[in-house]
């Protein structure tokens, strides 16, 4: 199995973002996803900046994938999408079907992102036919279903499977910005408050249980999906890449833990002691087991 660094879901200052990827160039990950997938108002890095980063990381030996925006609303969103697709130097992750259309038209291979809702072999087979060389299952898809998908004759064997294996789960997208709402601001005048919350804003229940994370127009889990203790199961299920989702602190150490696990240098039982202290929230793994996503079963 390989490791990938998923797209940065938060909004960090330009300096912090560039510093993060400068470090990431030296982390033992095989692939790095770049680009803004959450909010079109986040502009501290433009496409040209991402492309420059992509060149650097490619030179550092990483496979680079440019990820498209998940919620397309305006003509300017489409313009940005077309520009990204037109560049053609790097593999692209399509995060909605408009991007799939443009990539298929161009005949460019792509990664089918988790928001495309490929829940069955016919849809996944269609994506492969259109040019997908890799897919990321919906984050709620359990192990048994992923295995059924991969066993289907409709799905080409060469198609790679990348699983969201670490990080706060991207659960929902909205037209509304919940971070702006927290500050009684309208989205069009959000004052870029996301910059103040490098790992999102925790939303708790009225009995102080961490429940969800507000990240602009995206809602994430408050808990951190972690399948580190299940690496053997992941391998057996036919997963090719593990996606680790960026967080503002300790990311390099998280990558190290996964790399050590893949190389057999760490027992599953030793994972919580190594990993839990690096997480911005409590761990969860329920989706993998076909349960509520927030459930957790340490080995």
């Amino acid at each position: 199995m390989k490791l990938s660094l998923g797209p940065l879901l938060y909004y960090w200052s330009r300096e912090d973002t560039l510093a993060f990827y400068e470090e990431a160039a030296n982390w033992p990950v095989d692939s790095i996803y770049l680009g803004e997938t959450v909010c079109s108002r986040r502009h501290l890095l433009r496409l040209s900046d991402w492309l420059e980063l992509a060149e650097k990381l490619t030179a550092a030996g990483k496979e680079v994938v440019l990820a498209t925006q998940t919620l397309i609303e305006s003509e300017s969103d489409l313009k940005a999408l077309r520009k990204l697709v037109a560049d053609g130097r790097f593999l692209v992750e399509a995060n909605e079907w408009g991007a799939v259309r443009l990539l298929a038209e161009k005949g460019a291979p792509f990664v089918a992102g988790p928001a495309l809702n490929a829940y069955n072999p016919d849809t996944l087979g269609l994506l492969a036919e259109l040019g997908a060389k890799r897919w990321v299952p919906p984050v709620e898809m359990p192990r048994d279903m992923i295995m059924s998908m991969l066993a289907s004759p409709a799905v080409p064997e060469a198609l790679e499977t990348e699983l969201f294996a670490y990080g706060r789960l991207p659960l929902a997208f909205s037209a509304r910005c919940f971070t702006a709402r927290r500050y009684n601001l309208q989205k069009d005048d959000c004052q870029f408050r996301c910059l103040d919350h490098p790992d999102g804003l925790t939303m708790r229940t009225r009995e102080s249980e961490d429940f969800l994370t507000l990240n602009g127009i995206q809602t994430q889990s408050a808990k951190v999906m972690s399948l580190a203790h299940r690496v053997d199961e992941l391998r057996a299920a036919g997963i090719d890449l593990l996606r680790l989702s960026p967080q503002s602190r300790h990311m390099g150490r998280v990558v190290e833990v996964f790399r050590t696990l893949l190389e057999g240098g760490l027992a599953a039982s030793a994972v919580p002691e190594k990993l839990d202290k690096l997480m911005p929230g409590q761990p969860c793994d329920g989706y993998w087991l076909g349960e509520a996503g927030m459930a957790y079963h340490p080995m």
């Binding site: 003509e75 259309r101 809702n117 279903m145 929902a172 509304r176 927290r182 429940f211 329920g286």
Partner: protein
């Protein structure tokens, strides 16, 4: 002439279907009694017998019947969705409403004459996405998620020959439909695969010394003081704590009501207005259908002079969730 402002009403049961037909719907939409549609609730929806009777009743009065098959088929049960498409094709339905591309491919191949609509659960928010489904599967109508402002909707209309249907009234998803997993995160069942959000089996109501508490699989969604009316614990409409402040962090318990935008919707060429609420009573369907029929007729008669009648608005507010309504994303400041 292309369709303009057809009134499409919810039919969660045969009595609801009759209420919609009798009160002026141009079309009704319904689902089968299983997880092939996004209102998979106990006691709702149609079996073979009620479907036949419903289609007969509607068609006798010139009203179209659409079937929602708008959840995502899963590997081991995909045949259930295929059978549902076959049922739709042979029962004389006017169209099926689908979200999943694999299922569209099946329908297109096996029943090439069956009219296909793209469900709101397909999450298509741009004309590039809408046109993808048009080219590949020949869809004739798309229902847009409740996320675009009206000028953004107009831009979609202007760049596709697919008819565009919008939500006019009813329960409001604050998230992009088809892209919300909050329910499965909390309780294991999501609209995409199970066909329901915050399903009844996971809900608990409990009177406590602190007030009435509503929970979803143990997660406290809200707590109500004695003088507050407790609402259903749809998890995006509870009160939560962010940085020490407790408020409706995602959305208030409110309904969408876009009636005042009807003239604008007519001007940009919206083909149909959808009323949400297959889980609601026949009385709700009758009332809402009647009001919207009157409103649409008034807009068609004189767009420029149209103003929502205060009596209509009062009637709609009475049946709204939390007795509140919003223009939602159609009105930009909502975002």
């Amino acid at each position: 002439m292309p369709a303009l402002l057809e009134l499409i009403c919810p039919a969660g049961s045969l009595p609801a279907l009759k209420a919609a037909v009798d009160n002026g719907a141009d079309g009704v939409y319904l689902g089968l009694k299983d997880n092939t549609n996004a209102r998979n609730f106990a006691g709702l929806n149609f079996d073979a017998k009620s479907l036949t009777e419903g289609i007969r009743y509607a068609h006798n009065k010139g009203v179209k019947v659409l079937m929602a098959l708008n959840t995502y088929p899963q590997p081991d049960t995909v045949s259930r969705w295929h059978q549902a498409v076959d049922t739709a094709a042979t029962s004389g339905l006017d169209a099926i409403i689908l979200a999943d591309p694999g299922l569209m491919a099946y329908a297109r191949k096996v029943h090439p004459n069956l009219r296909l609509h793209l469900s709101v659960q397909g999450s298509a928010t741009s004309y590039e996405a809408v046109n993808f489904y048009r080219e590949r599967f020949g869809i004739q109508r798309a229902v847009l998620p409740r996320v675009l402002s009206l000028p953004q909707v107009e831009n979609v209309v202007n760049n596709t020959d697919v008819e565009i249907e919008l939500f006019g009234f009813g329960g409001l998803c604050v998230m992009v439909e088809g892209r919300c997993l909050l329910s499965s995160y909390a309780c294991g069942d999501s609209p995409n695969t199970f066909g329901a959000c915050s399903p009844g089996h996971a809900v608990r109501w409990q009177q406590t010394p602190k007030g009435m508490e509503t929970r979803l699989n143990g997660v406290l969604i809200d707590r109500y003081a004695d003088d507050e009316k407790a609402g259903y614990p749809t998890l995006c409409k509870g009160r939560f704590d962010v940085q020490g402040e407790t408020y409706y962090a995602l959305e208030e318990p409110t309904s969408l009501n876009s009636m005042e935008m009807l003239p604008e919707m007519a001007r940009i060429g919206i083909a149909a207005i959808k009323i949400e609420g297959r889980q609601r009573s026949p009385a709700y369907v009758a009332q809402v259908t009647q009001v919207w029929r009157a409103a649409i007729d008034a807009v068609k008669k004189d767009q420029a002079a149209f103003k929502p009648n205060p009596a209509w608005m009062a009637q709609l507010n009475k049946v709204s969730e939390g007795s509140m309504s919003t223009l939602g994303a159609y009105y930009r400041p909502w975002k």
